[in-house]
């Protein structure tokens, strides 16, 4: 995480506990969510790393990002980069989740502001949109 934030100046990935407890540092490594605060730089060698800055395609937000915006899932925003990437990986694995499954799937990402409900609403809506777009 230090390389991302201090050397590459990609400060979108956040440190909040430095111990793997809170999920704020979540990034995607070869498409799977990982806690960057627990990773050594050497573990990135040869891998595809996606941080929050790389999720949108130009002006087009990812369906999860758009849903978070529309559903009011963002308050202070500090947990959001990790939460969004965790949700992206979660939906890749479980494209048609129940609300309970969404709650369990995101239980590794702490949020102190929202009480999680609008986050769950957003992920549910994003899942529906992604499924619909996949059908087209």
């Amino acid at each position: 995480m230090d390389i991302l934030r201090e050397d590459l100046l990609l400060t979108g990935t956040k440190e909040s506990c430095g111990a793997g407890d809170c999920g704020a540092c979540t990034i995607l490594v070869d498409g799977e969510s990982r806690l960057s605060c627990l990773m050594l730089a050497a573990q990135m060698q040869g891998r595809d790393v996606t941080t929050i800055e790389g999720l949108a395609e130009g002006e087009n937000l990812h369906a999860v990002q758009e849903a978070f915006v529309q559903h009011g899932a963002i308050q202070c925003g500090f947990c959001i980069p990790g939460m969004v990437l965790a949700a992206v990986d979660f939906l890749n694995r479980n494209p048609n989740p129940t609300r309970t499954e969404i709650r369990e799937g995101l239980a590794g990402n702490l949020c102190r502001c929202t009480g999680y409900q609008k986050i769950v609403d957003a992920v549910e809506a994003a899942a529906a949109r992604i499924r619909q777009e996949a059908r087209l």
């Binding site: 956040k14 407890d21 929050i52 308050q75 925003g77 369990e104 239980a107 929202t114 409900q117």
Partner: protein, 783 residues
């Protein structure tokens, strides 16, 4: 380190993204202005500032709770490669004292260590590694003193003193209120309930820990960027503590990654200032890691509360006696204000004609207690709302019926004797709750409990005052500018720490000036650019600032229309209207763009400012000037009624909250999405307080310094929440609004405790309600 310097530009402007160009109106759910930048990782928080040539600043903490400072040895620490310098109190030129009401907290310890997290030395180093190594090598000559760890013992004769120069021993503030006939009225009661409640410390646990960055600019100005709720107060505190001219200190407050009261008062500010004064012009950064935040940041006051509540046989409350002991830790940090608010709310939102209310905010060597969402009210609500249920049980009354019987209405006197002359919607909240489908289904739901499960439903009535009380001015100054590009730029005076007031402010200004999202810009709090507007606290952020903003926006609107009228040679400005991007003369159809108009105005005409001071109570409830200064009484209250649906596992004692309803009277709703965000967040803080968040301190040392030992609710722990807004118009509020930021935090603990009692017959008086405590209580009851 990255190659760029972090630029502090003259003005840092935030806007809606280009694709978003909705009409701005008050009362609808608009997407927040900060949502897009936060979801793409573009937002730069105080913790995100770096820069070429930057030094890391870190603090050596005392490690023991109470000691005389003899010497600080920094030689070995100073020789660690990469260490730039080590500073102690000797380097602090000013008073070396900080505090909001009582200035009793040093920037760096000089005479005594007063808690384990006390800051003793400040190290500046090239790397985090050098910083840590150096801090570890600093040694302290300390003469340990007996610690003060129990608030009630701290009040006894002969107790060690935390501040020897305090005239009142270990008392920071005490309150003693007699209402009506006082204790004589106890004899007139038909029923008396008595209990002692203990609530625990709670950790704010904002995701962005205490953080900031500072630099001495070439012109001699000290610039500090920090995650704070109080940029203007910070400026005064830093200036005084470090002997700087306030006008030579600039505090910038970007979007904060959560605060909840933990950043109301100094955290990193003076330390950063001290570092920047000694770094040879290099920028400095301080970012507390999670453990340091646990050890050194402030906490919710733990409280022991003795209650005696008396009523007549018909259920009307007649007498209340409370003794509140709030452990405030070693420094003021608003502890007296918390105690005062607790006393004011100790009787809840009810008519209680006679009362004796006593409380003490006590100095100890435990971790520092300070502001935390609710601010003394969650503690007393935990007690009072359980007393109400216990009383209802004794009287054979339904708990809701007992609340209806005693709920304050407008014009009543509350339990500290304040006449409620502002909007008072508690009855409406109780009505709405009683008609809600969840209330109607409750018995059927309880009966459907599965094997080894017990279900219960519990309620709580809540209130929360807003503002600072009758003495401290609750003032905001708004500034709105028509830029030469024809944009409307709002200078936000109150920090946006996630509550979305940046967006609410744009919604208000845009709606008054008839503009769409695309025309609006916002500047976040900055002591050089925005105007003093008080703290982001006390549920007054929108109430007070928005009232000022309405004035500024209306002033600018009038000026724009007047000037356009002059340019159109029209006499009656009522023939003109603002529309997105311009002004139109309705009669002739002529239009003028805002940009063109702006370029005709002198710079001084393009800016409008307006000051608003919140109205205060005119009636007094005490002659104690100390209590008045600390906020007694308030004038404006929000109200609510909460309902918790709880399922207990008989085998493990675990409590699952299945559903939660919060009905709230916070005036008219300006933005339903933002309103709900506040209610949801408050409920989740309250449920953590109720069930799992147990900040453990033993012998003044913290035993829960991380998220493994201090358990926060996750998405899997939280129920689906229903929020109902009872929209009673508050005439003094902007568009009829009252504060919503804190009130929802007060309901969950007592509602859940009442539900647990309903489910199991067991009443727990110590918190949180961990599975161990619940299981033991159920076993004891059966045994």
């Amino acid at each position: 380190m990255g190659n760029q310097d972090h630029q502090i530009g003259p003005v840092n402007i935030h806007k809606f993204p280009p694709a978003y160009n909705e009409t701005l109106s008050v009362g609808i759910s608009l997407v927040r202005v900060d949502a897009h930048e936060k979801v793409t990782g573009k937002t730069v928080y105080a913790a995100d500032y770096y820069g070429k040539n930057m030094l890391w600043a870190g603090v050596k903490r005392a490690g023991i709770p109470h000691a005389r400072m003899k010497a600080i040895h920094t030689d070995r620490a100073g020789r660690v490669p990469g260490v730039f310098c080590i500073l102690t109190h000797k380097n602090v030129a000013g008073t070396n004292r900080q505090g909001v009401i009582r200035k009793d907290q040093p920037v760096l310890v000089d005479d005594k260590v007063r808690h384990c997290g006390d800051a003793v030395a400040l190290v500046l180093a090239e790397t985090k590694t050098a910083l840590r190594e150096s801090i570890d090598l600093i040694s302290l000559d300390l003469e340990p003193l007996p610690s003060v760890i129990n608030p009630e013992h701290a009040l006894e004769q002969g107790s060690p003193l935390v501040h020897e120069d305090n005239a009142d021993g270990n008392v920071l503030l005490k309150g003693d209120l007699k209402i009506g006939a006082g204790s004589i009225a106890e004899q007139e009661c038909d029923v008396i309930m008595e209990a002692c409640f203990e609530t625990q410390r709670q950790e704010h646990a904002y995701l962005e820990t205490e953080a900031g960055w500072a630099r001495m600019e070439e012109d001699g100005k000290l610039v500090i960027v920090c995650s704070t709720q109080t940029p203007f107060r910070d400026r005064m505190e830093v200036a005084e503590a470090l002997d700087q001219e306030p006008s030579r200190v600039r505090i910038i407050a970007p979007y904060s990654g959560g605060a909840f009261g933990g950043k109301d008062g100094v955290t990193v500010q003076s330390l950063l200032g001290l570092a920047a004064l000694n770094s040879g012009g290099r920028p400095v950064k301080m970012w507390w890691d999670r453990e340091e935040s646990f050890l050194s940041g402030t906490k919710r006051h733990p409280a022991r509360m003795y209650y005696r509540l008396g009523a007549r046989a018909d259920g009307s409350l007649h007498f209340l006696s409370v003794r509140l002991y709030f452990d405030t830790g070693p420094y003021d940090h608003l502890g007296g204000v918390v105690l005062t608010l607790a006393l004011e709310h100790a009787g809840g939102p009810y008519r209680i004609p006679n009362a004796v209310l006593k409380g003490w905010a006590v100095y100890t060597n435990n971790p520092v207690s300070g502001a935390f969402r609710g601010f003394g009210v969650p503690q007393v609500t935990a007690a009072m709302e359980q007393m109400m249920d216990m009383l209802a049980d004794k009287l054979g009354m339904d708990p809701l019926e007992l609340r209806f019987k005693n709920a304050v209405r407008r014009g009543d006197r509350n339990c500290v004797g304040k006449t409620l002359d502002a909007s008072t919607g508690l009855m409406d909240c109780l009505e709405a709750l009683s008609k809600h489908s969840l209330w109607e289904e409750r018995e059927a739901w309880k009966c459907a409990a599965g094997p080894f499960k017990r279900r219960g439903v519990g309620m709580a009535a809540v209130m929360q005052a807003s503002g600072y009380g009758p003495v401290v001015p609750d003032v905001a100054n708004a500034k709105v500018e028509l830029t030469t590009d024809g944009k409307v730029r709002v200078y936000c005076g109150v920090v946006d720490m996630g509550q979305g007031n940046a967006s609410t402010n744009l919604q208000i200004a845009g709606s008054i000036l008839g503009q769409e999202a695309g025309q609006m810009e916002i500047v976040l709090p900055d002591t050089d650019l925005t105007l003093p507007s008080g703290s982001a606290s006390a549920s007054r952020c929108t109430y007070t600032f928005a009232n000022a903003l309405i004035g500024a926006a209306e002033t600018l609107k009038q000026r724009v229309l007047q000037r356009a009228a002059d340019m159109f040679m029209v006499r009656d400005i009522e023939e003109l209207t603002l529309f997105p991007g311009g002004v139109k003369h309705l009669v002739s159809g002529r239009e003028l763009s805002l940009g063109a108009l702006a370029r005709f105005l002198n710079d001084s005409e393009r800016v409008a400012t307006y000051r608003f001071r919140a109205p205060v109570a005119k009636d007094s409830v005490t002659s104690d000037d100390g209590l008045k200064l600390h906020g007694l009484p308030h004038r404006l209250f929000s109200y609510g009624a909460h309902l918790a649906f709880v399922e207990i596992d008989e085998l493990t004692g675990k409590i699952d909250v299945k559903r939660y309803l919060a009905v709230s009277d916070c005036g008219k709703v300006m933005n339903p999405q933002i309103y709900e965000q506040q209610i949801h967040g408050g409920i989740s803080n309250g449920l953590g307080y109720a069930l799992s968040e147990d900040f453990k301190v033993h012998e003044a040392k913290v035993h829960t310094p991380d998220f493994t030992t201090y358990v926060l609710p996750t998405a899997a722990d939280m129920p689906d929440m229903d929020s109902v807004a009872v929209e009673i118009y508050e005439p003094t509020g902007p568009f009829g609004l009252k504060g919503v930021g804190e009130i929802a935090t007060n309901g969950p603990l007592p509602a859940v405790a009442n539900a647990v009692s309903d489910a199991s017959g067991v009443r727990l008086l110590r918190f949180p309600l961990t599975p161990e405590r619940v299981l033991k209580a159920i076993r004891d009851q059966e045994g």
